[in-house]
């Protein structure tokens, strides 16, 4: 199982004929992703390998029944590309493009939310459900099918973490890069919620970084709504304040967005945070073992408790059964007398009425 993208995902590549678009389209096809078409305005009717290219998303979706799109076009056109995908009926939009203005993203975010369309990104590596599909730019060979969900604000740092997980034997259910911008379509909580509800996910690795308060909000969500174990990593402990560290969203402004605060928030709800990426698999192992032990303990307790309760229940049942029998006997008698009394009254009333008429 996986979240958001699986083997039913049918993808259109927006910007399929560009350098990056074409390169990563071929990589996705190689992985087994169902790339059903591409869009580059002005190049409709041509083909990239065997993939048909269309002039517009409307035509592409109509011809291919696609439900997903991935966007590789430059920032000046990416905003339009997102709206066009939404307009064409796409339900999952993955936007790789970096550099979309926040003002545009505010509008896009609320527009898509209103229509129930999921946007992953922008400024993200996309999503991969190992063994099922890859809608993104991540190197496929480092992934392995499994039960760990990965969600991250970063691209390459996610690869680093996944690489470490795979080396340690932890396969992944789905890995999502949610993007490094200030305003992104899908946040930590959306992913955590989906992973919690996904029977194919056993635990979650969450990779945050400086800037904003998404990690703190995620910690609150984990505390209140999650049962599955979560382990974390936060990048930017050594980042100076006031400087944008590459990502538009990775900036410590004043005293907010510090790595230390995020680590503390996660720790306070029982989420261990790794000091270095290679520690993550170790923490994950510990957490999973603890969960399994707890579960085993609970089962044992339940079994023991069940034996006792079964006996008790039988005893109780016998007692109550006796009581019930007695009670029902009494009440039926009472009810019967009441009924007959009522009938007598009714008969008398009728008799009176007849007498009056006479």
């Amino acid at each position: 199982m996986a979240i958001f993208a699986d083997n039913k995902t049918r993808v259109i590549v927006q910007g399929i004929t560009g350098r990056d678009g074409a390169f990563h389209t071929r990589q996705m096809v190689k992985y087994g992703t169902k790339i059903v078409g591409g869009v580059t305005p002005g190049k409709g009717g041509t083909k990239l390998d065997d993939i048909p290219v269309f002039d517009s998303m409307k035509e592409a979706v109509k011809a291919t029944r696609a439900n997903t799109s991935i966007i590789y076009v430059p920032p000046a056109f990416a905003v339009d590309a997102i709206y066009e995908a939404a307009d064409a009926g796409i339900k999952l939009i993955v936007c790789i493009t970096e550099g979309i203005p926040a003002n545009d993203m505010m509008k896009i975010y609320h527009f898509l939310k209103h229509r129930g369309i999921r946007l992953i990104g922008p400024n993200c590596p996309g999503i991969i459900s190992p063994g099922l599909t890859k809608v993104g730019i991540m190197p496929a060979q480092i992934h392995k099918k499994g039960k760990i969900g990965v969600v991250s604000r970063s691209g390459t740092l996610t690869y680093e973490v996944v690489y470490n997980l795979t080396l340690a034997g932890f396969g992944q259910s789905t890995c999502i890069g949610i993007g490094g911008d200030q305003i992104i379509g899908t946040n930590f909580i959306d992913c955590l919620e989906a992973f919690e509800n996904d029977p194919g996910t056993e635990a979650v690795v969450m990779i945050g970084e400086i800037g904003g308060s998404d990690e703190e909000m995620a910690a609150e969500f984990i505390d209140k709504k999650m049962k599955k174990p979560v382990v974390g990593f936060i990048a930017g402990r050594t980042a100076p304040p006031g400087k944008r560290m590459g990502h538009a969203g990775a900036i410590i402004s004043g005293s907010s967005g510090l790595a230390g605060d995020k680590i503390a928030a996660l720790n306070s709800v029982g989420v261990p945070v790794a000091d270095i990426p290679s520690q993550l698999p170790i923490l994950l192992k510990e957490k999973l073992e603890a969960v399994r032990e707890k579960a085993a303990h609970k089962k044992a307790k339940k079994k023991a408790a069940k034996k006792k309760t079964v006996k008790k229940v039988i005893k109780k049942a016998k007692k109550t059964a006796k009581k019930v029998v007695k009670k029902t006997k009494k009440t039926t008698k009472k009810k019967a007398t009441k009924k007959t009394a009522k009938k007598k009254v009714a008969v008398k009333k009728k008799q009176k009425i007849i007498l009056k008429r006479k």
Binding site: P101, R237, A239, R244, G246, P277
Partner: protein, 376 residues
């Protein structure tokens, strides 16, 4: 991108927000002449990219033109929070009846522009929020509908009891929202917004932060960039489309991806070293970018080692390897290079690196440890 008060006021003026008369200069003599020209008392204000200028002595009232001269001379010699003052704004001094606050920020949580107003102006709004939160009204703007007149009026009436003032305020809030949207700002702030003796509202101060991602559609605002206020290496990096932040250590880092670049710095520190910089060579990295990156790194004499940490995705390892080879051939760096490569086209990359005698590891930790050993 941060811009100066005088630049923000220039934008305000374009959108019709009333501002005091003023001119920017870098000479004390000109400050005196401006005071003479205005025929009244003036304020001399340091133009630097930090808050708290007033407290630091960077804003002075000058009753006479001579005062303007001396104060300007003094302020132009100042450093405020480490930043030298290179320009001053000389503007007419106004009689202040009342000070209020009006600001708009990009709120990451609600994913909306949030308008904040307060009748308590002239002081740090964060302080007001902490101490007297009831004096602040916040309003989340529906980004699709935009800020409407009735909403601005409601905000204006929170600030002023007098309806005439409230209406003026509402009009300024609407104009400020236009500034915010049409300049692609992440913050637009008037603190204080004052009422003068004639009952007119004037933006006494102005602050605008611009969203870097929006700058491509505002070439006029890009010109506001103060190259004096930025590190020359950071400017060069920006030209080459690299993200670079200078730090204090001796381990030069060259990484693809911001998250991994931060994690690399953290790892250097974790193993007892000090990173010399944050450098993200970005997504589809061409060899030219790698050359520029190396040039910037070895330009810092403190640097004792160059650490490449590349995890290929949209970045192809062979592109980076070609860049490293070309950079080595062109720049002849006299510090050792440690390379870590994993991901897209890594085998090709390894072959390319062999030609200049470089070996690449696959583990980030190993590479960092190696770099620290060589730097020691």
């Amino acid at each position: 991108m941060k811009i100066h008060e005088y630049q923000a006021k220039e934008i305000f003026a374009r959108f019709g927000i009333p501002i005091p008369k003023g001119d920017v200069t870098n000479s004390a003599e000109e400050a005196r002449q401006l005071a003479v020209k205005y025929e009244k008392a003036v304020m001399v204000k340091a133009q630097v990219h930090v808050g708290g200028r007033g407290k630091a002595g960077g804003i002075k009232y000058c009753a006479e033109p001579d005062d303007a001269y001396f104060n300007a001379e003094e302020i132009l010699k100042m450093e405020i929070k480490g930043l030298p003052v290179k320009k001053i704004l000389v503007s007419e001094a106004l009689d202040i009846v009342n000070e209020a606050y009006v600001g708009i920020i990009l709120d990451r949580v609600s994913k909306k522009a949030v308008v904040m107003v307060s009748p308590a102006g002239g002081i740090d709004i964060e302080q007001v929020a902490r101490e007297t939160p009831e004096k602040i009204m916040k309003f989340e703007v529906n980004p699709i509908m935009g800020l409407r007149g009735f909403e601005a009026t409601r905000l204006g009436m929170f600030v002023y009891d007098d309806f005439k003032l409230a209406r003026q305020c509402a009009s300024i809030i609407l104009k400020l929202y236009d500034v915010f949207i049409h300049s692609d700002a992440s913050l637009a702030e008037i603190n204080p917004l004052i009422v003068d003796r004639e009952g007119k509202l004037i933006a006494l101060d102005a602050k605008i932060n611009l969203d870097d991602n929006g700058l491509y559609r505002h070439p006029d605002l890009e010109e506001f960039r103060d190259l004096d206020a930025e590190d020359p290496d950071e400017i060069e990096a920006k030209k080459a489309d690299l993200s670079f932040v200078k730090l204090d250590g001796n381990v030069g880092c060259c990484v693809n991806g911001a998250g991994l670049a931060m994690a690399t710095m953290d790892l250097v520190k974790h193993f007892g070293g000090e990173p010399a910089n944050f450098l993200d060579i970005g997504g589809s990295s061409s060899p030219e970018k790698v050359i520029t990156a190396m040039k910037i790194i070895i330009g810092e004499p403190k640097v004792k080692i160059i650490l490449f940490n590349i995890f290929g995705g949209i970045t192809r390892c062979d592109d980076v390897a070609n860049g490293i080879v070309q950079a080595v051939e062109h720049l002849h760096p006299n510090v050792p290079i440690v390379v870590r490569l994993t991901g897209t086209n890594e085998d090709e990359a390894r072959q390319i690196l062999k030609s200049v005698g470089l070996q690449a590891t696959t583990s980030m930790e190993e590479a960092v440890k190696m770099a620290l050993e060589k730097a020691a």
